[in-house]
């Protein structure tokens, strides 16, 4: 095994896994927000991510540095999220759970296909022109990856502070606890929902802009990001930010390892395998809980 013979490879895999895992965690946190507050399972989550990535990448091709694409992606995706809320999500929010899932599934198809029509099916990377450094002899670390990791942390922190301190953040948390009570207290829950969904889209856009710089994007990669987000949120539970971060980083590392050990074609299968494991594990846990009650 290469991994045992050259332990330094582990460092490489671990670092790359952590860097990419941070963006997974960011996207998953958006999903946790929407799921926890609005009880909408957004299957277009990954496509929002890819869309954010394409915004940054497109700006890059126009001569604007993709790092500037990050704030632009956030703003554009926020507006896009608001539009989607008004046209689609508002109408499915109080229907049964599968309705929102299927509506966002249709949305995912539309976004992926529109991106495909606009930018073609090629795999793209936004060029950020940062140096690649070597540490420990063979381990390479691209500076942009470190920067993206830090930016992920800053963005997550900003969202947390926003949720804790601002009036809107408080309103969101109140609505998550009890929408009826929130309405009685004078909170415009419709606006809160709109804001939450847009915030989620903006977070996804940020994650996507970072992914386009540190990894690759392609119009049809969205679904695997959606599944990743679901894996992370199901494993961590919503409203549990440390859990989401840990699960996100863990998923990134695990995917990188399995991609290296089993081969790249198993990477997606690994994500799905993890999803099933998490779901079965939850099921076993719930069965235990049920027995305690009876």
């Amino acid at each position: 095994m290469v991994l045992v013979a050259a332990p330094v490879f582990n460092v490489q895999l671990l670092l790359d896994g952590l860097f990419i895992g941070a963006t997974f965690a960011l996207a998953a946190y958006g999903l946790a927000l929407v799921w926890g507050v609005m009880n909408v399972k957004n299957l277009a989550q990954g496509d929002f991510v890819i869309m954010g990535g394409y915004i940054a990448w497109w700006l890059g091709t126009q001569g604007i540095h993709p790092l500037w694409g990050l704030p632009i992606a956030i703003v554009v995706m926020f507006a896009f999220g608001w539009g989607i809320y008004v046209t689609i999500i508002r109408r499915v929010i109080d229907k049964d759970l599968f309705t929102s899932l299927l509506a966002t599934f249709g949305l995912a198809i539309v976004i992926a296909q529109l991106l495909n029509l606009m930018f073609g099916p090629e795999v793209q990377t936004a060029e950020s022109d940062f140096a690649i450094r070597q540490i420990l002899g063979v381990v390479t670390v691209a500076e942009i990856k470190v920067l993206a990791f830090v930016l992920c942390g800053i963005l997550a922190l900003a969202v947390v502070i926003f949720m804790k301190k601002s009036r809107m953040g408080q309103a969101i948390r109140a609505t998550a606890q009890d929408p009826r009570a929130a309405r009685v207290m004078g909170i415009d829950t419709d606006k809160v929902y709109a804001f939450t969904f847009s915030l989620n889209a903006a977070i996804c856009g940020a994650a996507g802009a970072l992914i386009s710089m540190i990894w690759v994007i392609q119009p049809f990669y969205g679904i695997s990001y959606s599944i990743r987000s679901f894996v992370i949120v199901t494993a961590a539970g919503f409203g549990n930010l440390p859990g989401v971060i840990m699960a996100g980083l863990g998923l990134g590392v695990m995917e990188n390892y399995s991609g290296f050990v089993l081969g790249a074609e198993f990477q997606q299968a690994t994500v799905v395998g993890l999803l099933l494991l998490v779901l079965i594990w939850r099921q076993v846990q719930q069965r235990k809980l049920r027995q305690v009650v009876s």
Binding site: L43, L97, I109, F266
Partner: protein, 344 residues
Amino acid sequence: MNKNFSFKLHFPILVFGIAAPFLFPGLQLQIATLWVMVLFALTWDIMGGQMGYNSLGNIMFFGIGMYTSVLFQVGQFAEIGAYTAAHGGDDFTFTNAQYYQGLVIGIIMSGVVAAIAAAALGWTVFGLRGPYFAIGTLGMAIAAGELMGTWEWVGAGSGISVPVFPGSAEARSLLFYFLCFGAAVLTFVVLQWVYKTRFGLAVNAIRDDEEKAEAMGIHTVRYKTVAWAISAFFVGISGALFGNITGIIEPLEVAFPTVTFGIFMVAMTLLGGKGTLWGPVLGAVLFHTLKEVTWTYFLGWQWVALGVLIIINVVFFQQGIMGWLMEKFPEKFGIVVENKEATR
């Protein structure tokens, strides 16, 4: 009245199904595909409509059936590894008797294996409710295609070809046309019967309130497993037929087309109206006809149109065509409404 009503619908469809390949010889393949679509929509509705378990991964059994059928068709008479290595070339020819024996056993086994797979997988996913179930099955279907694509023994990414039909091309397409038609009719008849039995009642009870159903003494897991197995059985058979029509089985595009057929089956059922017997049939016919007629005129926008159709369908028109008709003209469905009341 009820018998008369369905006779009026059943008979023309049967006549059309039998006469179609002779009336429209150029459209044989499209009409055969139409019957497969009807079968898809009907089988999806067992879980999605009647039981309230929306699976996004039923297409998995299509691929399982397809591969099983080929493996049985070839495996009875030749070494599979050598067959795939030679890409089913001229080294392997099958006599008439071998071909038909292989085909019959292949079709039956494809259904059986798919049903067994459903029962086995059901054990892992049936504790999941609602959206978890949908996402779990979607993930399974995506993973199944990718895993098949890495399996050398069955040809990996380049796929495996089915044995060559011994007769003429016309006889081949006619045979598979009638097999597809027969499979769709069989599915319809079986489901019509199943929905009238206690099984149908139990399945509807699970949809309406699973906890209460369980409290009433319904063995929910058993019913869910059997329902999924029935669904998988017919999808598996359709996979075997479709594999033989296509000629070469390629894991991602042909055997596990999650993004095409896998989505179509949901879209068709929703369009026609889920939870009804005729809704899926109507939805499939309408969807497939529209798709075949307009698909090429969309100039690359067809997938966007499909996504928009799903969104509009779900957001504004959730009850589907049958549901809308029932709301609008309940007196026309006098008998059907009563039946609905009874089976709900």
